[in-house]
Symmetry: C2
Subunit: 156 residues, 2 copies
DNA sequence: GCTGAAACCACTTGCTC
DNA sequence: GAGCAAGTGGTTTCAGC
């Protein structure tokens, strides 16, 4: 893998391969090969090229957190003191495993995070005992996600 | 895959397997087998059980949207008219491919979405010509993500 | 719940066009 | 530059314990 290239050329075959594998990373390459009409080796060659271009970043197993008891998802907008730099706050947020995403945003807040907790009590604990304790965090606004109704990657 | 079970028992071996595969879904099962000290067939058996329990939902190839020119990510809070039901709005949002996530949230908005666009012009177009045109959408608030600094799944 | 063998598949290499 | 065929080693199934 090199540094990402902003000028990657993707043809229709690449798109078909990626569409299959974005749905199921362990789908047999030979199945894809048969459905497209080229050899498995050719698919491999293309995948290596896509990885080298930086388009293909990797693959992940997806687990359902509800089955492990994580049923409370929330977004939290964080206000930082002027003196607190964003990277220092992010470093602290990284240490909290319940924090799944962290964005440096325009608008009201300095930071918008997504967190996943077991229940409301757990959420309250993370909020009061972890996030609010970070130096420079002045105020937070919490939005609980009652249901996640869409979750996908971009369409290629 | 059956209906998700809230009482799944996961032992240390399952956790090790999942931790490997959540990082790289195509990691050779035999490598994992050797590092844990059981046979590849045993790993496979455990994976099938984890899938049947609903914990393991699937696997995905991860692509880097920046390489395809998608550089502008934003969160949008959407206010719905009282008369507009959430499911009907979600149905419309599903048709907009730039919408990657959609949450039914407590707090100010009815809906919070994450969208990914090529640039600010593209974002403006999706906002004005797609989202604002949905029946029942009264007002929106946009927060552009200048940088996504954390992106991960829950730790098991 | 695990193992080992057999069948199938992934991935590499060397070649052809 | 892109494809194929064959070879090595990994994946997956299944009988057996």
């Amino acid at each position: 893998m090199k540094s990402p290239n902003q000028n990657v050329k993707i043809d229709g075959i690449d798109k078909k391969i990626l569409r299959f594998l974005m749905e199921d990373a362990r789908k047999p390459v030979l199945e894809i090969a048969r459905s497209i009409g080229i050899s498995g080796a050719a698919i491999h060659q293309r995948l290596r090229k896509l990885e080298a271009s930086g388009l293909l970043v990797g693959s992940k197993f997806v687990i359902n957190p509800k089955v492990m008891g994580y049923t409370t998802m929330a977004y939290i907008g964080i206000y930082l003191d002027k003196a607190m730099s964003n990277p220092r706050a992010v470093k602290q947020l990284e240490k909290i495993p319940e924090v799944l995403e962290c964005h440096y945003t325009t608008g009201n807040w300095s930071i918008l995070i997504k967190i996943l907790c077991m229940d409301n009590e757990h959420l309250m604990h993370v909020l009061n005992k972890e996030i609010q304790q970070i130096e420079g965090v002045s105020r937070t606004e919490t939005f609980i996600s009652l249901a996640q109704q869409i979750d996908r990657q971009i369409t290629i």
